[in-house]
């Protein structure tokens, strides 16, 4: 589904991705964890073309990004930390805009799909609201539905709950959990360790632009081999305790 080989990326002097390689299979749910500044978000953004990689090879569903450019990205949807809903459009219009404009689909057909998606994320009654009228959790659920409206094969989540108040995290994670059960391929950059442990097929631990570990959740959470992982987990778990 995704194949990354030796990905490098620098911002000026600062190298943020230092030769990453990994593969993602159809239907896999992968959590990407690690300290701030470890390159998690940059990796995700590189996969969908928001950042241009300096070198390395990237294949999406067997298609090289280098050769086909934008076409390769069409298979992916992305959910941002800051939601990035279109504030001048209603919830419904946020969902149907891209399928109509980009894919040229018929409005009636897209609307039907949008209704289903809004019901799925529990926000059908908000279809005529503007984003400003929604809570953070609701905004993020709309953003997920908007990405799904394009019918992507792969969903990327960039810290989807990091800007939410603690009591709103649950509703968003529930939606993502439900998606995981539906066999959609997903990459989730997250600080929610409980989510990473319970939902992922694999967990990638990144530090200083490198993949330190890429394995099943148990290996990371139950018996972490690397000291870097141990110290990260100790730190983040104590943070979570004190914030709750």
């Amino acid at each position: 589904m995704i194949k990354a080989k030796n990905i490098y990326k620098s911002f000026g002097e600062l190298e943020v991705l230092s030769g990453l390689s990994f593969e993602v299979q159809q239907g896999e749910v992968i959590s990407i964890i690690g300290p701030s500044g470890s390159g998690k978000s940059t990796l995700l953004r590189s996969l969908i073309g928001l950042e241009k990689i300096d070198s390395g090879e990237l294949y999406i569903e067997g298609v090289s990004v280098k050769e086909s450019g934008k076409k390769a990205y069409e298979k992916m949807g992305m959910v941002f930390q800051g939601f990035n809903l279109f504030p001048h459009k209603t919830v419904m219009d946020n969902l149907i805009e891209a399928p109509i404009v980009v894919k040229g689909e018929k409005k009636a057909k897209v609307k039907k799909r949008a209704v289903k998606l809004l019901k799925k994320v529990g926000l059908y009654d908000k279809k005529d609201s503007y984003p400003v009228q929604l809570s953070g959790g609701q905004k993020q659920r709309v953003a997920i539905a908007r990405a799904l409206a394009m019918e992507p094969d792969i969903m990327l989540f960039d810290e989807p709950t990091s800007s939410l108040d603690p009591e709103l995290v649950g509703e968003v994670l529930t939606v993502i959990r439900d998606l995981a059960a539906e066999n959609i391929t997903m990459l989730v950059v997250t600080h929610e360790m409980g989510f990473a442990r319970d939902v992922s097929d694999r967990v990638i631990f990144m530090d200083h632009g490198e993949i330190v570990s890429d394995t099943i959740p148990e290996k990371i959470f139950v018996s972490p081999e690397s000291e870097r992982i141990q110290s990260f987990l100790t730190k983040i778990l104590s943070q979570n305790d004190s914030s709750h």
Binding site: I48, G49, L50, K70, Y73, E74, M76, G77, M78, F80, G82, F83, N84, L85, F86, P87, H88, K89, E97, A98, V101, V102, K103, Y130, P131, V132, R146, A147, M150
Partner: protein, 214 residues
């Protein structure tokens, strides 16, 4: 007295026809020029940015009256002779276009980077992103500044009297001189106030309409 007011009002109203025409032509084309200029300024094409910066520097940094004189009295020296109305319209369009370029550029740049990224990951190209996501949001943000310019334009339009264009103000002045009465000036002032008030009302309605989403 009443008859005189009606009479002079009719005369000034005729003059205001030119004012309206100039207003309409300037409003339409300077906004178009402003949008194009703003898009050029954010295009990240260095040459285009430099040319546009030079353009806004000149036209925002010199008096409109000087520009008007230049178009009407100056260009003929260079072999380009314009009738009063085209000279006035050209000057106003280019002058207001410079202001709108800066207003719209500021508006576009105030839109969060995340909006571009959201549009991009949904597969939208530059044109779709600008026309459907960025510019509609910009409209709301530039409305207050645009409203100011729209009112300035009403008043600035009176400048064309100096190149002999028979506008609202010139008609009033002719009547004042002819009848040795101050009433035409008062009538002209009322006309300007009415036009300005209509514009203020229109913009207030627009701002209200756009406030639903913020």
């Amino acid at each position: 007295m009443f008859d005189y007011i009606i009479n002079v009002s009719g005369y000034i109203l005729e003059g205001s026809l030119i004012t309206f025409q100039l207003y309409l032509v300037t409003a339409i084309f300077s906004v178009i020029l402003g949008i194009a200029g703003a898009l050029g300024k954010i295009s990240k094409i260095p040459l285009l940015e430099s040319i546009l910066s030079f353009y806004t520097w000149i036209f925002r940094g010199t008096p409109l009256l000087l520009q008007l004189f230049f178009a009407y009295y100056g260009l003929p020296v260079l072999g380009i002779t314009l009738e009063p109305f085209p000279a006035a319209a050209l000057t106003f369009i280019v002058n207001y276009g410079a202001y709108f370029t800066e207003i719209f550029r500021g508006g576009i740049e105030s839109i969060d980077e995340g909006q571009y990224e959201a549009a991009k990951v949904l597969g939208m190209n530059y044109k779709q992103t600008m026309s459907r996501i960025i510019i509609p949001q910009t409209v709301k943000r530039v409305l207050p500044a645009t409203s100011n310019e729209a009112i300035n334009l009403v008043k600035d339009s009176a400048l064309v009297a100096v190149i002999g264009l028979g506008d609202l103000l010139r008609a009033a002045k002719v009547a004042v001189t002819r009848d040795f009465s101050i009433i035409p000036f008062i009538i002209a002032a009322v006309f300007y106030l009415v036009i300005s008030s209509v514009i203020v009302t229109v913009f207030r309605k627009l701002e209200k309409k756009y406030s639903v989403y913020e």
